[in-house]
């Protein structure tokens, strides 16, 4: 077999391992998938009546549901990648990574297993969340092409954040740290256009919200699913995703290759 064939084979083995981990650690998997669903219910039924009033006198809760779904989808991504960091850190702080490193396997496969395992988990979580949203009365104007595009934008963004989470997991000295550092991603979903239009925010915060990556992604997805204006958000969301992805990938592989090189005994 060629080197590439071995890389693919080893990555598949590691992906298989990662998916098994998710099943064997159901409390974490359920929490990561469950939190966005709870937040969706919270935002629609607790805050939705009040927040929806801004969308017109007769709209209310249903209009807010339509508005907030892209925001909650981003929460689902930010929540899922927290699991990626934890899983990576668990691997790196355990003894098994040394075993992998002393075997003639494709070096990258350890990371790619995590990345694709997390991507599958994230997409499954998004699908479940969309199902719940439909159950609550979510209305969409999108056809198959719109849905495909929206899923593509979300998947690309998720892919980028997963690499970032891998890097954070590698950089963390302990599993506890790894479960905390990706929290800022969850915060960023709120400091953008995911839950309220940025126009309602005070200056300063508003500028920040408009120029951070979650806003163009939320606006693009909302545009594709609800027919609101997208403008240049599509381009900037793809650009953000690619930039984060490349930078995080480089950071992660650097951390991975240099790891433990200086550790005594």
């Amino acid at each position: 077999m060629t080197t590439l064939a071995y890389t693919v084979k080893d990555s598949r083995t590691m992906l298989h391992r990662n998916l098994k981990h998710q099943l064997r650690y159901p409390s974490m998997t359920l929490m990561l998938v469950g939190i966005p669903i709870v937040l969706l219910l919270l935002f629609v039924y607790v805050f939705g009546g009040q927040l929806g009033a801004g969308f017109g006198p007769h709209e209310g809760r249903t209009a807010y549901l339509d508005y907030v779904v892209p925001g909650v989808l981003l929460i689902a991504i930010a929540s899922a990648v927290q699991g990626t960091s934890i899983m990576v850190a668990m691997d790196m702080t355990g003894g098994i990574i040394d075993r992998f490193r002393t075997m003639a396997i494709a070096r990258a496969s350890v990371l790619t297993g995590h990345v694709f395992g997390s991507l599958i988990q994230t997409l499954a979580g998004l699908a479940l969340l969309i199902g719940v949203a439909f159950g609550l009365g979510y209305r969409t104007t999108a056809g198959a092409a719109g849905w495909l595009a929206a899923i593509g934008v979300l998947a690309l963004f998720a892919f980028a954040l997963i690499w970032l989470a891998v890097a954070l997991g590698l950089a963390a000295k302990s599993v506890e740290t790894a479960s905390n550092t990706p929290m800022f991603l969850l915060l960023l979903t709120f400091l953008g256009s995911g839950f309220v239009p940025t126009t309602t925010m005070p200056a300063g915060l508003r500028q920040f919200a408009e120029y951070q990556p979650f806003t163009p992604v939320a606006d693009t997805v909302r545009g594709l699913l609800s027919g609101t204006a997208i403008g240049d958000h599509a381009i900037s969301s793809i650009a953000w995703s690619l930039c984060i992805c490349v930078a995080a990938y480089l950071w992660a592989t650097r951390l991975y290759n240099g790891r433990r090189a200086a550790e005594p005994n």
């Binding site: 098994k20 064997r24 355990g94």
Partner: protein, 328 residues
């Protein structure tokens, strides 16, 4: 499968490694012939684990040359990785998988193919007495079972050279003996083994050659018999009632090593009745009361004592070892 080379399993020449200012390995050279067991014996911090990590391609050496079964560690690490197996000090098993799944993971990563992989997994589970627990998650495994699984995982790829970093630390006496038996069988099958240990009896029992490492330097090496031959008489332990007597005795016998905690003085002996009588006369004349004494036939601790001036076993006891339970 892979062809066995006629080269020694492990050859290391002048290996140096420091972490910052701290010199961990100071020109360490060692050779293990194919099918032989080489023990790297030394206290904590002697550099044993660092040597294993360097030879198993985990960390680079600062200088020196190393070949594993004919493959150069520096220029061909993947060639080395293909022929070695490593069982580290901390268990390198996947806790979220079952025993069988752990072995299957190794078989897949060694590209054994479906049928060959399955046969190997089943065979190893049987060989290591893990068949009953094969489908169970590792959370229910005992320490001994985890170690056995760990070693079984190392063997999936049928390595020619195996590194065992303190393979029996923390094991109960029975699991320890099982592990020794497995290690002997591997060597008998032609596998070269580098074993690190801080247990004298372990090195004595298993090794064809022993390299004694202290603070990154080789302080002695040879077969267990050769090393013990360097201290023909063993030692005599004098037990005292109080520290005053111990101190006076230590002044009287400059070659002896005092242990103030245990109130024991360890005196090198020549192993003859005359020399013992001389010693007792000398103590009597100096009016030093000895509570009791015990005579020890030479063991590796005497070697260690002779070459470094300090004990090895004291280090081992710190790690809550079953050392005492192992005797006899």
């Amino acid at each position: 499968m892979m062809t066995r080379t006629s080269e020694p399993g492990i050859v290391a020449r002048q290996v140096r490694k420091s972490f910052g200012d701290h010199l961990v390995l100071d020109n360490v050279s060692l050779t293990a012939e194919q099918g032989k067991i080489l023990a790297l014996l030394g206290p904590n911090g002697a550099g044993k684990t660092t040597m294993v990590r360097i030879l198993s391609t985990l960390i680079p050496a600062d200088s020196g040359s190393m070949r594993i079964a004919g493959h150069d560690v520096v220029t061909n690490p993947d060639g080395v990785r293909a022929v070695i197996g490593v069982t580290g000090q901390f268990s390198a098993v996947d806790n979220l998988l079952t025993g069988a799944e752990n072995l299957q993971l190794m078989a897949d990563l060694r590209h054994l193919g479906r049928d060959a992989g399955r046969r190997r997994v089943t065979g190893l589970l049987e060989q290591f007495d893990l068949s009953d627990a094969a489908g169970k998650l590792l959370s229910v495994y005992s320490g001994g079972m985890r170690r056995r699984l760990d070693l079984a995982m190392t063997l999936v790829g049928e390595p020619q050279v195996i590194f065992l970093d303190e393979p029996t630390t923390g094991l109960d006496p029975r699991s320890r003996r099982t592990m020794w038996q497995i290690i002997r069988e591997l060597a008998a099958a032609g596998v070269t083994i580098l074993l690190t240990t801080q247990y004298l009896d372990e090195a004595d029992q298993l090794a064809d050659r022993i390299v004694v490492l202290d603070q990154g330097r080789i302080v002695a090496e040879g077969t267990p018999a050769e090393l013990k031959g360097r201290i023909p008489g063993g030692h005599i332990q004098l037990h005292f009632a109080g520290p005053c007597m111990l101190r006076s005795a230590a002044e009287l016998l400059p070659a002896a090593v005092p242990d103030l905690d245990q109130l024991v003085l360890q005196v090198p002996a020549r192993g003859t009745v005359d020399s013992l009588r001389e010693l007792l006369d000398e103590l009597h004349e100096a009016r030093i009361d000895v509570e009791r004494l015990s005579i020890h036939t030479p063991d590796l601790d005497d070697v260690f004592l002779a070459v470094t001036g300090s004990h090895l076993s004291g280090q081992a006891e710190e790690n809550l070892t079953p050392q005492g339970a192992q005797q006899g």
